[in-house]
C-alpha cells in the first residue's frame, strides 16, 4: 500500500475509535439502567427470589440448562418453565430425581437434596424470571 498509510495514523484511529465506541457503550448502558426497572420488575424481587437465585447458582443449574437462552444446551430452557409446567411440577421433578440416576435414561439430572424452603425459593426465582420482559422470547412455550 502507499507510503501515505502510516502507523501513527493507524494507532490514532485505534485509540480514537475504541475510546469513541466505549463511550457509546457507556451512554447506552446509562440509558439501559434507566429503563430496566420497567422491564425486570425489580420491585418483585423478594428475599425468597433473591435466595432462589443463590440456590440456582449453588447447584450449578446453568451447567445443563439455559436461563433466558444462556447456559448449557443439554437440558430444557428454564426461563419460562414456571409458565410451561407450573411451580408444583418443578418442585416435584427436582425432588424425585433418583440419586443413582435412571438406568438407560436419555439424560440424567442429579438429586440435589434441596430443602422444602430452597425448593419454594427456587420456584419463586423461576416465577420472577418468567415475568421479565424478554421481548417475547422464547418463540413458543417449549423454550
Amino acid at each position: 500500500m502507499s507510503q501515505a498509510f502510516t502507523k501513527s495514523m493507524a494507532r490514532n484511529i485505534f485509540f480514537g475509535g475504541s475510546t469513541f465506541f466505549f463511550l457509546l457503550l457507556v451512554a447506552l448502558t446509562f440509558d439501559t439502567m434507566q429503563v430496566l426497572p420497567k422491564r425486570d420488575h425489580r420491585e418483585n424481587i423478594t428475599p425468597a427470589v433473591a435466595h432462589g437465585k443463590m440456590v440456582w447458582e449453588k447447584n450449578n443449574c446453568i451447567g445443563c440448562h439455559t436461563l433466558l437462552g444462556e447456559g448449557a444446551y443439554y437440558a430444557p430452557e428454564l426461563g419460562n418453565v414456571y409458565k410451561r409446567r407450573g411451580g408444583e411440577f418443578v418442585k416435584a421433578w427436582i425432588q424425585s430425581r433418583p440419586a443413582e440416576g435412571t438406568p438407560g435414561a436419555r439424560r440424567q439430572m442429579p438429586q440435589f437434596n434441596l430443602t422444602p424452603e430452597e425448593l419454594d425459593d427456587m420456584v419463586a426465582f423461576l416465577k420472577w424470571t418468567g415475568e421479565i420482559n424478554t421481548s417475547n422470547w422464547p418463540p413458543n412455550i417449549e423454550g
Binding site: F5, T6, K7, A10, R11, I13, F14, G17, S18, F21, F22, L24, L25, L28, T29, D31, T32, L36, D40, I45, V49, K53, W56, E57, K58, N59, N60, C61, I62, G63, C64, L68, G69, E70, G71, Y73, Y74, A75, P76, A99, G101, P103, G104, A105, R106, R107, Q108, M109, F125, W128, T129, N133, T134, S135, W137, P138, P139, N140, E142, G143
Partner: protein
C-alpha cells in the same frame, strides 16, 4: 533464544498443553453423555463435566497467553524479564490453584464446594464460565496482577514496540474486565448484563488484542516482513475489532430483559464484526506471500495462516450466521450457539496459542525449528484437529437447525427432549469426530518427542 528469561515461558506452554488434553477428554465425556445419558452418572454429572471442560479451556488459554507474553516481551523490549523468579512462582501458584479447583469440582458436590469456599459471604459462583470459587477468583486476580506488574516493569525499562504495547493493553484489559465477575446482584437481568462485560469484552474485545499481537509477532519472525508494515496492520485490525466489537456486545442483549433498541445496535455492529477477522486472514496471507526469508519452521507458519482462516470462519462467518436479531430470536440458546462457540474458540484462541508454542518451543529447546519428521507430524495434527473442528461445527450446526425447526419454528412445536431425540445421529457423529480431534492432539504431543536432524538455531 536471545534472552535467558524467555525460558520461563516453557513451563507455561507445557501446562497449557496438558490442560488442553484434559479439556478435550472432558469434552468427549460430555459428548457421550449427550447420547448415553447415564455414562459416568452420578460420578461426573454433565454440569460438572461442562464446568471442567470450559474452565480448563479458559485456564489453559490464560497459561498460553502468559507464556506467550513472557516469551515475547523480553525479545520485543530487548531486555531481560523484570523478575523471572516471580514469573516462575506465579506459574506454580496458578497451576496449583487451578488443579485444586478442578479437583474440588470433581470430588465435592458443587453446593458443598460453595459452602467450603465462603460463597455465602460473597456469592459469585454458579454463573456460566465464572463457576470458580471465590478463593480461585481472588487467586486469578493476584496472579494476573503479579504477572502484569512483571510485564509492565519489563516494558518500562526496555524498548517500546507497538506489539508489546498492544499485548500489554490486551492483558491489562483482561484483568480489568475480569473484575466484573465479582459483581453478582440478585437481579438476574443486571447480573447477566454485566456478566457479559467480562465474557464478551474478553473474547470479542481484549483477547483479540492479545491474539493480534501474538500473530503479528510470529509473522514478523517467520516472514521477515518489515515491522512497520506488520504493526500498522495490527493497529488497523484491532481498531476495527473494538469499533465493531464493543457495541457489538448488543447481540447478547436481545432477549435477557434489556431494552429493545439493543436489537438494532447489536445487529448492526455485530454484523460488522467479521470485518476485522477478514482483515486478519488477508493480513496473514499477505505477509506470508511477501516473506523476505524462508523460515525453517513451516509448522508455525501453517498455524499462523490457520489462525487467520479459522478465526474468520468460526468467529466471523459462524458468528454472523445467527447474530441478526430476527434470526437470533429462533437460534438463541441452541446447538447453533454451541457450533459457533467451538469453531470460534478453536480458530481464534486455541490456534494462536498453538502458533506461538509452535514457533517458540523449538527456539527454547535450542533450535530454529524441529526436524522435518517432527514438523510433518505436527502438520498432520494441525489438519486432523482443524478438519475435526470443522466437522464438529457442521454437525452441531445441522443439529441446531433441526432443533430450531422442530422446537421453535414448526406449527406443532416439539418439547425440548422430544426434539433432542430427533437429532441424536448428529451427536453421535460429533462424538466420533471428537475422537479424531483427540487423535490429532495426541499426534501433536508426540511431535514434541520426535527427534531427527533439527535445524540450526537462527
Amino acid at each position: 533464544m536471545q534472552y535467558q528469561s524467555q525460558a520461563v515461558a516453557k513451563p507455561y506452554f507445557i501446562a497449557a498443553i496438558g490442560l488442553f488434553v484434559g479439556q478435550i477428554l472432558f469434552g468427549l465425556i460430555m459428548g457421550l453423555q449427550y447420547v448415553m445419558g447415564d455414562f459416568l452418572f452420578p460420578a461426573i454429572p454433565f454440569n460438572v463435566a461442562r464446568m471442567v471442560h470450559t474452565n480448563l479451556l479458559i485456564v489453559w488459554l490464560l497459561f498460553g497467553f502468559m507464556g506467550a507474553a513472557y516469551y515475547i516481551i523480553p525479545e520485543e523490549t530487548e531486555s531481560e524479564l523484570f523478575s523471572p523468579k516471580l514469573a516462575l512462582l506465579m506459574f506454580w501458584i496458578f497451576l496449583v490453584a487451578g488443579a485444586l479447583t478442578v479437583v474440588g469440582y470433581l470430588l465435592v458436590p458443587y453446593a458443598a464446594l460453595a459452602k467450603m469456599t465462603f460463597n455465602d459471604l460473597w456469592p459469585t459462583m454458579g454463573r456460566e464460565f465464572l463457576e470458580q470459587p471465590l478463593p480461585t477468583k481472588l487467586g486469578i486476580v493476584v496472579v494476573a496482577l503479579a504477572f502484569l506488574f512483571n510485564i509492565t516493569m519489563t516494558i518500562l525499562k526496555g524498548r517500546k514496540t507497538s506489539i508489546s504495547l498492544v499485548l500489554l493493553m490486551g492483558l491489562w484489559g483482561l484483568a480489568v474486565f475480569f473484575l466484573f465477575s465479582f459483581y453478582n446482584p440478585s437481579n438476574l437481568v443486571l447480573d447477566k448484563y454485566f456478566w457479559w462485560w467480562t465474557v464478551h469484552l474478553w473474547v470479542e474485545g481484549v483477547w483479540e488484542l492479545i491474539l493480534g499481537a501474538l500473530l503479528a509477532f510470529v509473522l514478523i519472525k517467520v516472514t521477515g516482513v518489515d515491522r512497520e508494515i506488520i504493526e500498522k496492520w495490527l493497529y488497523m485490525i484491532i481498531a476495527m475489532t473494538l469499533i465493531t466489537g464493543i457495541v457489538g456486545m448488543g447481540h447478547h442483549y436481545f432477549w435477557i430483559g434489556t431494552p429493545e433498541y439493543w436489537q438494532w445496535f447489536g445487529s448492526v455492529f455485530s454484523a460488522l464484526e467479521p470485518i476485522p477477522f477478514f482483515m486478519m486472514t488477508v493480513f496473514a496471507f499477505n505477509m506470508v506471500n511477501r516473506r523476505r526469508r524462508e523460515h525453517p519452521n513451516k509448522a508455525a507458519t501453517l498455524w499462523a495462516l490457520g489462525t487467520g482462516v479459522m478465526s474468520f470462519l468460526g468467529a466471523g462467518v459462524w458468528g454472523f450466521l445467527h447474530t441478526l436479531a430476527p434470526v437470533n430470536f429462533y437460534t438463541h440458546g441452541t446447538q447453533i450457539t454451541a457450533a459457533h462457540g467451538h469453531m470460534a474458540f478453536y480458530g481464534a484462541y486455541v490456534m494462536v496459542v498453538l502458533t506461538i508454542i509452535s514457533y517458540a518451543m523449538p527456539v527454547m529447546r535450542g533450535r530454529a525449528a524441529n526436524s522435518n519428521k517432527s514438523q510433518v507430524l505436527e502438520m498432520w495434527s494441525f489438519w486432523l484437529m482443524t478438519v475435526s473442528i470443522v466437522f464438529i461445527t457442521l454437525f452441531l450446526t445441522a443439529a441446531g437447525i433441526l432443533q430450531v425447526w422442530l422446537q421453535r419454528v414448526s406449527t406443532t412445536p416439539l418439547g425440548f427432549m422430544a426434539a433432542q431425540d430427533q437429532i441424536t445421529l448428529f451427536y453421535w457423529m460429533r462424538e466420533f469426530t471428537g475422537l479424531v480431534f483427540l487423535t490429532g492432539l495426541v499426534l501433536y504431543i508426540i511431535s514434541f518427542f520426535v527427534g531427527g536432524e533439527s535445524k540450526e538455531a537462527a
